[in-house]
Amino acid sequence: MAPGKTIKAKIKKTLPVTGPQAPTVSELMLWYCMNTNTHGCRRIVVSRGRLRRFIWILLTLSAVGLILWQCAELVMSYYTASVSVTVQFQKLPFPAVTICNINPYKYSAMKEHLSELDKETKNALETLYGFSEGKSKVRRDADDWNATESKFLERIPLLKFEDLSKRTVTEIPSGNKRKIETSVFHQGSSMVNTGDPQDVVGFQLCDPNNSSDCAVYTFSSGVNAIQEWYKLHYMNIMAQIPLETKVNMGYSAEDLLLTCFFDGISCDTRNFTPFHHPLYGNCYTFNSGENGRVLTTSTGGSEYGLQVVLYIEEADYNPFLVTSTGAKIIVHDQHEYPFIEDIGTEIETATATSIGMHFTQSHKLSKPYSDCTETGTDIPVANLYNKSYSLQICLHSCFQRAMVDTCGCAQYAQPLPPGAEYCNYKKYPNWMYCYYKLHEKFVKEQLGCQQICKEACSFKEWTLTTSLAQWPSSVSEDWMLRVLSWDKGQKINKMLNKTDLANLVVFYKDLNERFISENPANNIVILLSNFGGQLGLWMSCSVVCVIEIIEVFFIDSFFIIMRRYWQKAKKWWNGQKAAPLQVNAPAKEGHDNPMCIDEDLPTFNTALHLPLPQENHMSRTPPPNYSTLQLDAAFTDPLPDMLEGRSH
């Protein structure tokens, strides 16, 4: 036969084959059970006795259940991550070290801006606590008091609470006693019980447009109240000073750094990048990588780290703004913004602070394993800092944005968003009230910043071990101070005091880099092989079996049922036309008889697909009214290659 003809004939013959071969669903099931590759099913059919069959049904069903359960567990645990820790010994990049003086600006340079504020602060202290810096000064201040108008206190009056429960207060400048009706915010009062309510000091912030809308902030100690009050005014004043002036008022690199060593080699102020921090003034970053070059160390130990001697001019400190002396340093990555106010380490004067570092690098898996962000581009908060994303940056940016939206101006401690300007009460008289309200909301997570901001997926961390020693030692103090004074001598003409100096050593304890990374615990290959293991263990099943099940239980059954209904409909239609033919019911029975009668216990022969016993002759043949039999007719046709395939 020509190949084309064969195909044609084949198509012709097979065209009627539109559905499965079994005529009824139960036969299909039986056929499936006998021929499937999964294990339990066959047992059900070939088992003798009801009990045994029942047990097999139960077992098969439980195996299916177990498979479903275990596979569900596998899928649920798919997105878990395993942690791997690797340690590498290698040349390490030295981190950026940012050093700031705790005092932001030289007090002498700030005098002209702050003199009025300081005077009022002193006055307030005197009226509150009867504290004064000496008799003559008091008199002078008292004169000034009468002469000048106290504009700062007027704007935000400091209040002394006579009785918290009665809410009667004394206003500090005027001495007026009055009752307040507004809500009282206790700063920290939930933690500390303010035993004597008479000592409570606070200040009141009012919405200037609506004077009844006021908030009173109380503090358990006057120290906090005065500092907070001072800081508010200070930020107001600073917001009005242009950046350039502020930089000039701060400490220059030559002022701050006396000596510098790195990796056993001398370095100087050129290795430090200046950076202006709103709260800490001029800060200097060592190894900031600004020209694309990051220093590395190939040797651990204090000898090979960064050694600097800092000059802390204690006498030039602002007495109300800063109450501690020293410097603040932070070790960070070159691309990170140094949040020195949040996570800085303080350095004491007259001591040598040695900071040993261990380097740890961590990497988390992002979605769907955990909710972190790789670059921060998917966070709807604009990064106000010119540095790579971090959670801190996001929170600060988010707050600043909210501040600009609600109060119309930007908070001083954070960078300016485009088009905004810093708050000061010349232009924005109610910003402080607004700020406090907003900050309250921010802390209580009502602004939604904490929900929007996600942590960064990868971060570098330097674990610091800080230890202190006395420096200079009593015997070397003499020459040390002399030489350092000489060093400094070009600019100032005085002998240094050891409380003006701080020695700082930052070094790698060892060059082991710990790299902690999350890896997916599962991948699709492992998941599938686990599936395979489960399927195989309980039922010796595979994807093929699953496809079989779909094929038999859904597609074929559907066809059979459809055909049944089709035939019924046809019969009904025929019945409408002519007398109904009584063929279907007995034929089915007869057809089912040999294989599927339960009372006739399934013998081994039936299990082995044996045909019916000998005595069942051709007479038993059911009437050929099934569509399948048409197929049979097709197959008996001598089509050699098809026969071959069909029979095997």
Partner: protein
């Protein structure tokens, strides 16, 4: 002969495959294999047959692809880490305490006298240069007389110079004791061995250390130990848990940087002490006296005790990992042992005991274990010897090498500083040293408080002075006294241990899982497949043989008309026999053996697909029935 017969029989047995044509073989395989796909191919209708054929192919290729991934994963030797945190009874770490100053000034003054005088004079000179025109001012008379008094021998080896960088292109180098301006116009860092330092104190430190190193390296070790701080002077009180201890519990070690150091619980001769309770009460409490008055003024400007926690039998590298304790304070150190246990080769590139590192560990003389610091230092010392011909004073000596000093090796200091700043040499050492597989770090939480308090100061000083010197005078003061508490924290260990993420068991079960998932197969199925291939080969061989025989026969026929029975007939006989035999031993035979199926003419008409073979079976040949 016997053997040959046996061999032939075996061959014949092997020949008995399930069919004698490729088609039969394939059909038989598809029908009888335990992998799930092939059976479907031959059991289904023609359309589905095609679908099943492609599905089977697809699954087979999927299986092979995933196997490739799995094997690749296995060969990448990844590890999985497990972390455990808690408290357990652990060995208390070895505690090394040193004084920041290596020697008592009173004992070494005679050696350093000249140097000190020189330094003082130089200082004087520098400080004077502040006044007036610093650089070009002629030396004052007073300093001239000073310099005449001094022995300038030391000076001339490494002169201190003042570099005027007011003109950055032509720095002027001025020797402090020479009136002439020597190195005008030379670049200090390139052409002459000058080290430029921005800060004068740092420069002094370095210079002084170089000089004193050279002087002290000539002093024998015993003498140097005697010049350092003695244990009974330094360790005033010691309490471990509830048990008193004394300076005798400390092992003395000579550390080149810090002089005499004392190690508690080093575990060299005795069993290491264990601590089974957290908290300061069960830790080590020490009171130290560092007697700051006796410091060498120019050598160390930092005052305090240097201490370090390390493992038993490891050398303390105080410069790297040591911390300071400040005098006049009580320093409390809470310890968390952070261990990292790693698998060795091939999982990670680390060394178990350092025996496979090409650098000879010079710290073996202390009987200490390998560490990366020891390796780096040994490597540096070896390079130092190679380049400069002598050993550096800070590191132990290899055999047959002497320490550098100014007399024997006049240019050692230059050689040393150029070697130290050479990136290439450092990189060489970093490359040749490997880290240890078990890495233990002691994480410390340090807190400080003033000690003794003003109220208790009196009696504490009295008692301690009495105990040390048996005198009623107070010989101690705030500047010298240090209290130390070292103890385990509530959680005293954090262990990260590695285990192989992919073992051979994992590999096998994953391979099995994949094969099972896609095709329901197992190793036996692979063996089945191998068997089929063998059969295939046999059939091929038989075909070739029969073809050859046929060819021969044709020729023979041309010669002899009567022929012997053909080979193919013989083969058929064999095949039939073997087929029945094979059928009974098929290992994972789930299909009911249709061998027993008699071809019945009176069989009822088939209702099932599988049964439909019957009518045809009667028509077909015997072997065909068996194959179905």
């Amino acid at each position: 002969m016997n053997f040959k017969r046996y061999f032939i029989r075996v061959l014949h047995r092997l020949q008995k495959g399930p069919g004698y044509t490729y088609k039969e073989l394939l059909v038989w395989y598809c029908d009888n294999t335990n992998t799930h796909g092939p059976k479907r191919i031959i059991r289904e209708g023609p359309k589905k047959k095609v679908i099943w054929f492609f599905l089977t192919l697809l699954f087979a290729s999927l299986v092979f692809w995933q196997w490739g991934i799995l094997i690749y994963t296995y060969l990448s030797y990844s590890v999985s880490s497990s972390l455990s945190i808690g408290f357990k009874t652990m060995k208390f770490p070895a505690v090394t305490v040193c004084n920041a100053s290596p020697y008592k000034y009173s004992k070494v003054r005679h050696l350093l006298k000249e140097l000190d005088e020189l330094t003082e004079a130089a200082l004087e000179r520098i400080l004077q240069s502040k006044h007036g025109d610093a650089i070009s001012a002629p030396p004052l008379n007073s300093s001239e007389t000073v310099s005449q008094r001094l022995d300038l021998k030391l000076w001339n080896q490494i002169p201190l110079v003042l570099i005027d960088e007011s003109d950055p292109d032509h720095p002027v180098i001025i020797d402090l004791f020479e009136t002439n301006q020597s190195g005008s116009g030379t670049q200090p860092n390139n052409s002459s061995p000058a080290l430029s330092n921005s800060g004068a104190p740092g420069c002094y430190d370095k210079w002084y250390i170089l000089q004193s190193t050279s002087i002290l390296s000539k002093v024998p070790l015993q003498e140097r130990i005697r010049m350092g701080y003695q244990p009974e002077d330094m360790i005033l009180a010691c309490l471990y848990g509830a048990e008193p201890c004394s300076y005798r519990n400390f092992t003395q070690i000579y550390h080149p940087d810090h002089g005499n150091c004392y190690i508690f619980n080093w575990g060299m001769d005795e069993e290491a002490l264990i601590s089974s309770n957290p908290g300061a009460e069960f830790g080590l409490k020490l009171i130290l006296d560092i007697s700051q008055q006796d410091y060498i003024p120019y050598l160390t400007s930092t005052a305090g005790a240097r201490l370090m926690l390390h493992e038993q039998k490891s050398f303390p590298f105080l410069k790297d990992q040591g911390i300071y304790a400040m005098s006049g304070t009580e320093t409390s150190i809470g310890v968390l042992v952070d261990e990292l246990e790693r698998m060795g080769y091939p999982y990670s590139d680390c060394t178990m005991n350092g025996s496979d590192v090409p650098v000879k560990n010079l710290y073996n003389e202390y009987n200490t274990s390998y560490s990366i610091q020891a390796c780096l230092r040994s490597c540096f010392q070896a390079q130092m010897f190679e380049n400069c011909g002598c050993g550096h004073y800070l590191f132990p000596l290899p055999e047959g090498v002497n320490y550098c000093n100014n007399e024997d090796d006049p240019d050692w200091a230059y050689c040393y500083s150029s070697l130290r700043s050479s990136i290439r040499h450092r990189q060489f050492c970093i490359d040749s040293c490997k880290e240890t597989c078990n890495d233990t770090q002691y994480k410390m939480t340090i807190s400080m408080a003033d000690w003794p308090s003003e109220a208790s100061e009196d009696w504490i000083f009295h008692i301690l002075s009495y105990e040390r010197d048996l005198s009623t005078n107070v010989t101690l003061d705030r500047n010298g006294i240090i209290k130390l508490n070292i103890y385990f924290q509530e959680y005293n260990y954090r262990t990260i241990s590695e285990s192989a993420a992919t073992t051979i068991v994992w590999l096998l079960s994953s391979l099995g899982g994949q094969f099972g998932f896609w095709m329901g197969g197992s190793v036996l199925c692979l063996i089945e497949f191998g068997e089929i291939i063998i059969d295939f080969l046999w059939i091929t061989i038989i075909n070739i043989i029969s073809w050859c025989k046929g060819l021969k026969q044709k020729r023979a026929w041309a010669q002899y008309p009567d022929t012997p029975p053909t080979v193919s007939e013989l083969v058929e006989a064999h095949t039939n026999l073997g087929f029945q035999y094979e059928d009974t031993i098929t290992p994972c035979d789930e299909v009911p053996s249709p061998g027993a199926l008699p071809p019945e003419p009176g069989t009822p008409p088939p209702k099932y697909d599988s049964l439909r073979v019957d009518p045809r079976a009667g028509i077909d040949s015997d072997s065909d029935v068996e194959a179905s």
